[in-house]
């Protein structure tokens, strides 16, 4: 029966030469919603939607390299938009590289999801229910929207991931020499890849939530998730320490389970770096977040780990070398990152532990997550004894010698991604003032490039850590545990205020730690918007980094603000894969608040979101290819993103031209009339040079054509106020967003009307306090904006 359930081949013995082949068994599906127009879209299915976006937000390219080196015709010089030997122009080549980045990012998330599914089916079976409690009925918004599937068990994700995998292969094919030649089609494919990336993330997080009972809407979940410790000072190094790094939680979950089962949870520290650490705290309450990605090198160099367990993604490529230096055995648990270690899966744990403790091998690979807990913990218990007394923080004498050795040649500065003036700081330290060096600790992105070019062989990273060590060892913050999906009941409460604009927006800090000026700016972004009653939803490194900073009362932003998806909330949604729930929240607004059908209906929902849901992502330290595909996925769904200055190295941005009237014409779905509208959102992907510039930019990118006058006045209040606060000016374009006097902030109405009259030449009826002439359009509360002609209800 089992075989028949899964499909397969069987023979009936009485009938000679008869063999019956049963393919997939399709069970009768529950009638939950009529299928929409685009289930499981292929490469070109949503191309029309993409081209609508690309027409308004024309791709902008800033090549990082003027050559193409991908085939043996090359190298080809494409400078000045020349063609290469294959005929590709510079602009198409940039689109191709962007697609490649999104391909890598999406593959990481999809492969992570597939890996999880494989391991979880093996451990728990296919029938683990997807049940997120009484407050979450739309359990998988992206899966419903893209695939038209309402998943009931984790086994249903087999089909979803197969769809993504097939699309990835088709899109990878388009990268080959002699395939696509249009930059716009490359971008459409990148947008498709971004959508697949968001779907893959949702799949991965739903699978792990379902199997590990991570927080949902059952008791203790959602806004009520507990706080966990964050920071390099949270680990008790007098105990054995296991440190997990990466993104795939099953090995770490097994370590937590082993500690509990063996009564060791108070005797051994389990800490983590990056998303694995976020997800570990969702399954094991005593886990600690040592740091985000940006401090990986420094945490490893500090030697706090007795055993390092790596899984996948965002692991330093030199992790083995670093661990050998600190005499910390390493266990690789994923076939995508084995670092040359011998595969000891299924080997006798006693032998493995013995080999690791004795130092006969620097590490091993164990590819079955359920075998990792015992080996890692037993090894840590033994290695801890051997490592007692070792210190990897420089002594005072070593520190003095190194800072005096520095000849201020500037080589480190030229090698530093942030161009830090390390030599000057060394000089100052040599003269007795270590503060400039200590201040570099947070701004440093922790890459270590400086050390390789130092002519005096100074271990610069260690020198900076030493300078900052008095603060670093006391670094202890608090962060909410990742809560997973936003509840349907929360969406019911805030759907109207979000669409009408009275909650000014959702700000979603996401992604990596390649910040231009340290982690403090992350806290500033969160604080500024939460205090202004935006909803701040964090994931990944930014969720960790903002917890490192405290206010005067010693509280982090998580402790200062509630965790509800509501005005003023600061929510940790979870790890990088969890940011699919931010897409999910926007989709649910369309589904729950507006009653739009979700099933296989991506285009309509993206059209709804781009014109009505004031949300803006911010990847202030975006670094990886995953961040590229994440942002591109947000963009296809109509959610803009601001990146930090390093983000310009992604080569491509999506920015509109507010001065091009023809790009800003929408359709009023009520009667089909064409309406010239204000530029909201003005850009889909844009970089800011400084955080002072980014804050008003984010507020601006939350403005939508559907805002009510009250909502618009609230959004304008914040846009103008942030601009005055951080740029010392009224935004030069604030008038573009004014449709009527009622759009203006009440407290500033007269002043702003005067400015409109004096500076823009608008006609004002001062008796009535009304705008007579000037705005792009008049405020129309029944305006029903769309980009899709098929949604016109009744043509004029």
């Amino acid at each position: 029966m089992e075989e028949i359930k899964k499909g397969g081949i069987f023979t009936i013995s009485e009938l000679q030469n008869v063999r019956i082949n049963i393919g997939e068994i399709i069970e009768e599906e529950e009638e939950w919603e009529p299928m929409g127009p685009h289930p499981m879209p292929r490469i070109a299915t949503l191309r029309d939607w993409d081209f609508k976006l690309l027409n308004r937000y024309k791709p902008f390219y800033a090549p990082l390299c003027d050559m193409c080196c991908l085939c043996t015709y090359g190298k080809c010089d494409l400078t000045g938009n020349k063609k290469g030997a294959c005929g590709i122009r510079m602009d198409a080549q940039q689109g191709r590289i962007v697609l490649l980045a999104c391909l890598i990012g999406c593959s990481a998330h999809c492969a992570h999801g597939r890996h999880l599914l494989h391991d979880m089916i093996k451990k728990f079976g296919r029938d683990v229910p997807i049940d997120f409690g009484p407050e979450v009925n739309i359990e998988a918004p992206l899966t419903r929207l893209v695939c038209g599937i309402k998943p009931k068990t984790i086994g249903d994700y087999d089909k979803v991931l197969s769809y993504v995998e097939e699309q990835i292969v088709q899109l990878a094919d388009a990268l080959h020499t002699g395939q696509e030649g249009s930059h716009l089609d490359f971008e459409s494919k990148a947008l498709h890849m971004g959508m697949l990336d968001s779907l893959s993330k949702e799949a991965a997080d739903i699978i792990q939530i379902a199997c590990y009972h991570m927080p949902t809407s059952y008791e203790g979940g959602g806004p009520d998730v507990p706080m966990v410790d964050v920071g390099m000072g949270t680990i008790d190094t007098t105990k054995p320490v296991v440190l997990v790094i990466g993104h795939n939680v099953p090995p770490a979950a097994d370590i937590g389970a082993y500690l509990v089962e063996n009564g060791l949870d108070d005797k051994v520290e389990l800490g983590g770096i990056c998303c694995t650490s976020i997800d570990t705290t969702r399954v094991y309450s005593k886990a600690k977040l040592v740091s985000a990605l940006g401090r990986q090198l420094r945490v490893l160099r500090a030697g706090i780990a007795d055993v390092v367990v790596i899984d996948e993604q965002c692991i330093r490529a030199d992790v083995l070398e670093l661990c050998q230096h600190t005499q910390s055995p390493i266990i690789a648990t994923n076939d995508k990152a084995m670092h040359g270690l011998v595969d000891r899966t299924d080997d006798d744990p006693d032998k493995i532990v013995n080999d690791l403790v004795s130092g006969r091998v620097p590490g091993v690979a164990i590819l079955e997550p359920d075998q990792v807990g015992e080996v890692s913990v037993r090894t840590a218990l033994e290695v801890d004894k051997k490592r007692k007394g070792l210190s990897f923080i420089l002594s005072d004498d070593e520190f003095k010698r190194y800072v005096n050795d520095c000849i201020q040649c500037g080589s480190c500065t030229l090698a530093c991604p942030n161009g830090l003036r390390i030599g000057e700081a060394n000089k100052s330290a040599a003269a007795g003032n270590i503060k400039p060096l200590a201040d570099l600790f947070d701004i440093c992105v922790g890459c270590g490039r400086c050390e390789q070019v130092c002519k005096k062989h100074i271990p610069i990273v260690d020198v900076v850590t030493k300078a900052a060590y008095p603060e670093v060892k006391e670094e202890k913050g608090k962060m909410r545990v990742g809560r997973g999906p936003v509840w349907d009941s929360e969406i019911r409460e805030v759907g109207a205020p979000l669409v009408l604009g009275t909650i000014p927006g959702i700000i979603a800090p996401i992604g990596c730690g390649n910040y231009p000026n340290g982690t403090k700016e992350v806290q500033l972004i969160v604080k500024e918007f939460a205090e202004r009653n935006y909803i701040v939803t964090l994931t990944g490194c930014m969720a960790i980094d903002c917890a490192l900073w405290k206010d005067e009362e010693g509280k982090t932003v998580y402790e200062q603000h509630h965790g509800r998806f509501d005005a003023g909330g600061v929510l940790n949604i979870g790890s990088c894969v969890s940011n699919a729930h931010i897409h999910g929240a926007a989709i649910k607004v369309a589904g729950i608040f507006a009653g739009r059908p979700l099933r296989g209906n991506y285009e309509e929902i993206a059209d709804y979101i781009v014109s009505r849901v004031g949300a803006c992502g911010v990847a202030w330290g975006a670094m990886s290819q995953k961040a590229a595909s994440i942002a591109t996925g947000f963009n296809r769904l109509g959610v803009p993103a601001v990146v930090g200055p390093h983000g310009v190295k992604y080569r491509r941005a999506f920015m509109s031209r507010p001065d091009r009237k023809e790009d800003w014409t929408l359709i009023d779905a009520t009667d089909g009339s064409k309406v010239y509208v204000e530029p909201g959102p003005q850009d889909l992907l844009v970089a800011c040079e400084t955080v002072e510039e980014a804050l008003p930019m984010m507020a601006k990118l939350c403005i939508r054509p559907s805002d009510t006058d009250r909502g618009r006045s609230i959004k304008l209040t914040h846009y103008i106020d942030l601009s005055l606060k951080y740029l010392n000016i009224y935004p030069p374009d604030w008038h573009l967003f004014v449709r009527a006097a009622s759009d203006l902030p009440i407290a500033m109405r007269n002043e702003l009307l005067k400015k409109l009259e004096d500076e823009q030449g608008w006609k004002i009826d001062w008796k009535m306090k009304k705008i007579v002439e000037g705005p792009i359009r008049a405020y129309n509360p029944s305006f029903n904006p769309t980009n899709l002609e098929r949604l016109i209800r009744r043509k004029k």
Binding site: P63, M90, Q408, P645, A687, C688, E692, E693, P731
Partner: protein, 190 residues
Amino acid sequence: MYSYEDAGGDKMGMEIPFDVANVPGPETGRIAPPEVIGSYISSAKKPLLVVGSELLWADFFLDIAIEIGKKGIPIAATGHSIKGFVEKEYTENVTYYNLHGLTNCLRDPNWKGLDGGGNYDFVIFYGILYYYASQMLSCIKNFATEPLMRAVSIDRYYHPNARMSFTNISPRMEAEYKDMLRKLVVSIKR
């Protein structure tokens, strides 16, 4: 004279970019002294000074921008550099613009410019975060080609994506850099 003498810049007769691996391709900018860059700027029909947040490092740098502005060259203040101009009460021909958005306009020959009179034929980058400026200069080099837009940098970094640039200047050479900027301002004839 002005380069990081120990960083290896002149060993092969080539300057190294401030971010050492930022080697774009066959076409890289020429290093020039302030008088030559000033003269080059003077040849522009419609130049634009694009400044960034590093201008706020010291009053001197802001004053140099204002002096150039007073020669009739309009200023696009990017990042949060506009703050400095407001504090100095010099805002006459200064406009805030996001650098990404500005470069998006500069690459379009049909852009009307900050004054509504048309796009620029020459841009001067000054006081901008190195890697951000480098990428925007790359866009101009590769896509603002018909008609050709000329771009120079007067920052303390060698910018290979600019047509002309100063060399890398060590913080120890701050006085020399200031002197270069003074000479540049003098040599701009309008």
